[in-house]
């Protein structure tokens, strides 16, 4: 029981570290908040909305995302997010870092 809680906390920390890369990579095409949540979930990354929305705002304030409010197909207004040119550059760099990290970790864990 005690271990379960420890593992859960550690997994949460791990996930929090990678969520920015996951969001940037998914926003190559426009998504609104809820569709992004579902897309992450479909990829096996369950993210809480209270984690995702503040993260989206932070990435936008850092210039890595762009967003605008739009009404598509007469639905309700939704805020659509997409990666910015600066975000693409950062993502490319992060992908390299990620590859190096996973390689190191695989060596370490094997």
């Amino acid at each position: 029981m005690e271990n379960d809680e420890l593992i859960q906390n550690m997994v949460f920390e791990l996930r929090r570290g990678i969520i920015s890369i996951a969001v940037l990579s998914l926003l190559g095409k426009e998504e609104y908040g809820y569709s992004l949540l579902k897309a992450l979930s479909d990829q096996g990354l369950e993210v809480d909305q209270s984690t995702l929305y503040p993260l989206l705002r932070r990435l936008e304030s850092q210039g890595l995302l762009q967003s605008d409010w739009r009404i598509v197909d007469e639905a309700r207004p939704r805020r659509y997010y997409v990666i910015s040119p600066q975000g693409r550059e950062v993502l490319e760099q992060l992908k390299k870092e990620w590859a190096a990290m996973t390689e190191s970790m695989q060596k370490l864990l094997s």
Binding site: G33, Y34, Q49, Y53, W69, R79
Partner: protein
Amino acid sequence: MNLIEKYAVEVGKYLPSRNRADIEAEIRSTLEDMLEERAQAPNADREALTLQLLKEYGAPRKVAESYGAVQYLIGPRLYPIFEMVLKIVAAVLLGVGLLGFGVNAVRMDMAGPALVHALGKLFVDSFGGVMMAFGNIVLVFAILERVLPLSDQKDLTDEWEPTDLAKEQDPDRTKISDLIAEIVFTIIFLALFNLYPQYVGIVIFNDNQWTFIPVLTESFFRYMPWINLLWALQVGLDVWLLRKGMWDVATRLINLAFKLGSIGLAYAMLIGPAIIKVNTESLAGTSLAEVARELSPLSQFILIPFLIAMIIVPVVEIVQTVVYLVRRRPPAPFPVK
């Protein structure tokens, strides 16, 4: 207003006003998307689903906190200065209170229960005034917290370097704590002289009660427009310096002009009619009349050295500034390592 709308507004209550409408709209939009998806099932009870959805989304305050919306009345960057100012004011009030009490205790030859009784009455009578002073300080800092630019938080961020500790202080860099202390004390004195001049005076223990006697004369209030102008301009300059973070020749010259103004004001007060006086006329016929007559010359005896200091201190500062301005080297046209 439906429940989702009410929920979004409730979250908004805990958010800073600049982001409130935007975050509220996003929460509303997301919740409606989530509800729409869940309500597609046949025989879905929208009301029950809405309640369940809001429960899952979380308590409004917690949701607001996830946006980093914790708001301070006085935040971490100003708190140490706030604490310092509060301690100074508390020490001054305590010092003045005890001095007044001591003088009265000796004068009335108080001892034993009478002394304890007088001290208790002083504490009760001055409680309201002390609370008002502390309340004004909190108010001034709460305003500063909202008007000062975020760049003042630089030393709280990762940009801080331990090697900065070894560097000599740049004489042109403004000292935030000094400026804030000057702003706060100037505003406190402006409020005191303009709104509560009746509280500037002395307390006398007589006939088993503390009596407060205001000492500012009509002559003092003739100087008030000049005092207000000079101090308001000084606060304006301090706020400007807080925003800029650096002294330059222009701000130093403006500050010199203010110092000359305060010297002129102190000189006019020194040679003009008395600005403080224990009003013996208003106390005529009371048991305090004799005491007031004794204290009247004493008040001038305290005031004159104070006004002389108000002239000498700015003169020294002016000389220091002029010497600095003459000796300072112009900035290099290229970065110096």
